[in-house]
Symmetry: D2
């Protein structure tokens, strides 16, 4: 796919499947392109109207004429984002097609080599295996300390735990707030594990940033743009969950919001999408892990707890996530899942988590990545 020195046109025989082979050194950001397809039998005056409008934007249209249909191509870095919509409804226009991705900073075309996010010395991306574990919510000192010790002992890289919880119903437990953050800091103090915790609203960013090592943006907030910009401004690592029904492109555009504030430390997280299937809470989309690894240089992790919603499905999907190319997983572990205030049904207990860890390492090794 790259072959900077190849002379003869290579075909599939030369295709390589490792991500490393997809890197294209020396490729700059590149142009955008748009195609305007005229209707069969459209008139010259219709074509002229399109060309004229392109001219108003400083662009030049190139005509490709068939026997009955004409297509107008436009190539250039300066195509406005709205031009597609603008031309779509001109008389005589059948369709317009925008070709290139609307994101830049997150693109592997711009930066071929993997970004490695450093979290207090732990590396996310670039070949290592990261395991972030802990309870859905911080519920008490006893609970979070027990969780932290258990996941530390089993070999986790970081501790997760929510102090602010988004809940569909206003009548359910919504987290301990700042006191929860203090307990997380205390757990870090004792175990040395960096902490990952969610921030839900721009006003809380400063507060949460005083405690957290990684700021988590939840699925429901993936398109909360003010929040994305606010966490972007902190410069702290950001764990960006994919929205429930967000396309991969939208997910990368949300990462672009964070990076556009000058913060390169974004970790993408696939956590299941909403589909017609009701046997599981969500549908884990591991295609998306592989696609994201190819399109962007950012690290990608997976959340099999939310991706499945059932504790007994977490181990097989955690293993599958690593095999699909994820740089790590984030996983819910609770010392007593049956009594958890939230997400108990999808949390592993410490024994099952400890049993999973060597299996994760074995799969990581099998796909050539260090545990």
């Amino acid at each position: 796919m790259t072959a900077a020195t190849a002379e003869a046109p290579p075909r599939q025989g030369q295709r390589l499947t490792a991500v490393a082979d997809l890197k294209q050194p020396g490729i700059s950001e590149g142009d955008n392109a748009m195609i305007v397809v005229m209707q069969a039998g459209s008139q010259e005056s219709h074509i002229d109207a399109v060309l004229e409008r392109l001219g108003e934007h400083g662009l030049r249209g190139h005509l490709v004429r068939g026997e009955e249909r004409t297509v107008i191509g436009v190539v250039g870095a300066a195509i406005p984002a709205t031009l597609k919509e603008e031309l779509e409804h001109f008389v005589g226009v059948k369709e317009t097609v925008r070709i290139t991705q609307p994101y830049k900073l997150v693109s592997r075309e711009l930066r071929p080599q993997d970004t490695v996010v450093d979290v207090r010395g732990a590396k996310v991306g670039g070949g290592s295996l990261v395991v972030i574990a802990g309870p859905c919510s911080v519920e008490s000192e006893e609970q979070i300390m027990a969780s932290a010790r258990a996941v530390r002992e089993a070999g986790a890289t970081m501790l997760r735990g929510g102090a602010f919880k988004p809940r569909s119903s206003p009548y359910t437990f919504r987290g301990m707030g700042e006191h929860g953050l203090q307990l997380l800091a205390q757990a870090r103090e004792e175990t040395g594990l960096p902490i990952v915790t969610e921030v839900m609203t721009p006003n809380d960013v400063d507060l949460v940033a005083r405690y957290a090592d990684v700021l988590q943006i939840g699925a429901r907030n993936m398109q909360n743009y003010q929040l994305l910009e606010e966490v972007g401004r902190t410069g702290l690592p950001v764990l960006l969950k994919r929205g429930l029904s967000a396309t991969i492109e939208e997910w990368l555009l949300s990462a672009e919001y964070v990076m556009a504030q000058g913060n390169p430390n974004v970790i993408l997280c696939e956590r299941g999408i909403r589909t017609f299937e009701t046997a599981t809470r969500n549908t884990m989309d591991l295609n998306a892990v592989a696609v994201a690894k190819r399109r962007t240089h950012l690290p990608v992790i997976a959340d099999p707890s939310h991706g499945t919603g059932k504790w007994y499905l977490v181990p097989p999907l955690a293993l599958a996530s690593i095999a699909s190319g994820a740089d790590g997983i984030i996983i819910e572990v609770h010392p007593d899942p049956d009594r958890a205030k939230s997400d108990g049904g999808q949390s592993l207990n410490p024994e099952n988590f400890a049993a999973l860890m060597p299996r994760l390492a074995a799969v990581a090794a099998a796909v050539g990545r260090s545990a």
Copy 2:
């Protein structure tokens, strides 16, 4: 949108919203088009390889060059259906885009005026309102005769009823078979209503065609191609339900299968698609009615019984279907829904059906169509 005499380029002021205005007299089937977008920085040898392959197919590529990226346009009637896939994986190719629809006979571009399907004198399409009503399944002589009389009395145009039923489970009632067809014929005899009934497998087509006035293809069989071709060969009117997760394009392609056998009598039927929403059995997609009316000349009806799955949602959605432009509806009516062998929960009883009919006529009149 066409304005064969307009000189100045018309803009949105000239847009008209009635379907009639979308007709474009004198437009032939037209060309297809495809676009090959090269990667930024792709080499001349890569471009040459694409051009060479196009040449093998007798096609000529037109280059549109930007500063860093090149796009290749192809226009012509003879683009093979698989060319997009073929070129997509050439080295140096970023993306290929096929522009034009893969169907022909069903397209309004080919035939601007509405097709009107004649069913024993009843007209489907072209401005009238058709109401097809009756039970999900034929269960007994008494039940089908009672149904037929009730819907006839309320003003229905045709009688529906299944003799062969597709059921998810092998352990549920699957229809009365040929005896059910005989009972339908008897009901037609008495009431004069044409009958619509499903055929599920190619081997049954001859049998069902001996009794039915309209052959129904169920949602699960929308892509049962042998069956489509078999009903196509009968020349009888075919009611083609949209598949549970079929795109509008796939639905029209299935209609193309029937028409390709020389049978122009296809009635499309939107009956709800599968989405994440679980409050209703399916999600009625009335966008699809409006899109189909625009893209094809074939009549389009809607099935609010399957589209909602709840009897109390049938009336509002039946009214909405007509308002969205449907040429009619097909609706489940049972003399005693609580004791129906299938679909009782989504069937209207005769009283509620009779109450609905004048409301349908009122909405049809409000949107300019004869009841």
Copy 3:
């Protein structure tokens, strides 16, 4: 379904389809219920463990024993929201099922009669037809004044226009901010139309509330809970759009967040959901309008501009929305859609909007509602 005086058990013959007939006077909020299904062959000790846990919550389980399987029923107002998850993973438990809706204040069981939201004298809900129209974004004084005059002249009830715009990409137009709000106020001054405008983040609520008559919560923010509570506290009417992939239940729970702040003035808005279909921007879910009208007393409107994404599909779907029972529509109208900074492709021009208004009134009259 109500029949407070009926003695004999009524069956479907008594079913009535008008929403009015669904009202059940004198019904209080009612209990919740939960069912715990044990596995076939589960042991007595497993059953005891469930009963014991129920006892810890002050609940009593009722056993229903079959030959091989036992089911435990729980009925009571005080069932904790998390009990389902808690019990789901007990040994010997096959499944738990929560029966009743988790929302209260929005429920028609609690309040049978329609809520009518008063917006400067305009009534939303209760039988009238509301039309909110205007551009996607406020772009300039000239543009918003032209829009306001045009929609006023055609008979719109309120003016819409965005000053703060959520956009997938950080590189596109994001609204004029407070200056946009001032222009909206100026348009209200001249035309007398109340204004509807979006607020995107809690910090902006005070600012937007100084100008707006109705605070709009966009689809992407349907589960931005801090924002919901903040707009709840203002007491102003809130137009709550359904999220792209939100279930009807989640949508109503978000309305519950607003109402739980003491603000009863919530207007629900269906605006299309995300499905597999790509021919339209979204899939308009008119089932959801009918379901919401049945489950809640709040007014429900529909947005065919976002629901379809194509201007030429807006008229049929606007008509269908009213026929399905919506209390009104919100619709994008721009004086020059081809040059709109956002959503031009789905905006009507003033001529097409003016042509639509009498057709809306005709359908409203046909379904028994005043225009």
Copy 4:
């Protein structure tokens, strides 16, 4: 979860995650259960009507009374499949809930130990790793022989190849028919690989069964019930692909159709579902692999070629499939994908396939299964 000898109620500490631990020896097929939830404030006469109807079916309802709401439980093997719908619309009934799965023969509750399907000595299920590989379609003697040799050499277990192809458009290549079957048999002759090939219509079953070792049912035909019964009657192994939008329950019910004909040799195949995501052809649902392995004793394989639609995503998803618990994969391999008549874009070339095989074996070993 079973613990036949445990006395104290075990909690999550005893949970085990390996499939083997889910087996429950001695559990018979068990009862079904249904719950009828009355509305708050429903009358005694309404309750009596439900009890009376249950009595007509020979069932007894058990009342669970709360302060304001009553719930009726029914447990028994003989609950008719339609009873849920039947009662749902009784006056005073709020909701009915069916608890237990409608399938029997495929259920792991009925048969705890893994089914192993024997295909000419190759074992599918029970811990081994099966790799079925070959082109989408048989195109020529040269192509299928080259394919067979290549996949044989790389270590594949069986050869796939279509002689009858379902295609969305009537204008594309639809397979070589019986001549294709003869070429497959010739390839088996030379390489010893058993052959897997699709049958599309009941009339072709006898023909295809004369050549094939495994009869494949494609995704579009998952609910073609006559076809399912016909392949059931052959007794040959059946590879049953999950439908594009089929729930896991529907997929298992289709397997039930085959087994109900006395044919226990069913191999389930997850091949991607249709979702809103357009970056990939389908969304591979590996949750479904893990769920199916838990619910049924049948072997489950995965098809990453159709599940992703892009050759470069096949290797990571093939590895992920095995890690998620699949018993094997089916994968498209073509000697010259760029010139394939169908599915070229998702086919691996022989080099990439050969490179994948040892990686699959490594992951299989890592998750404790023999390559």
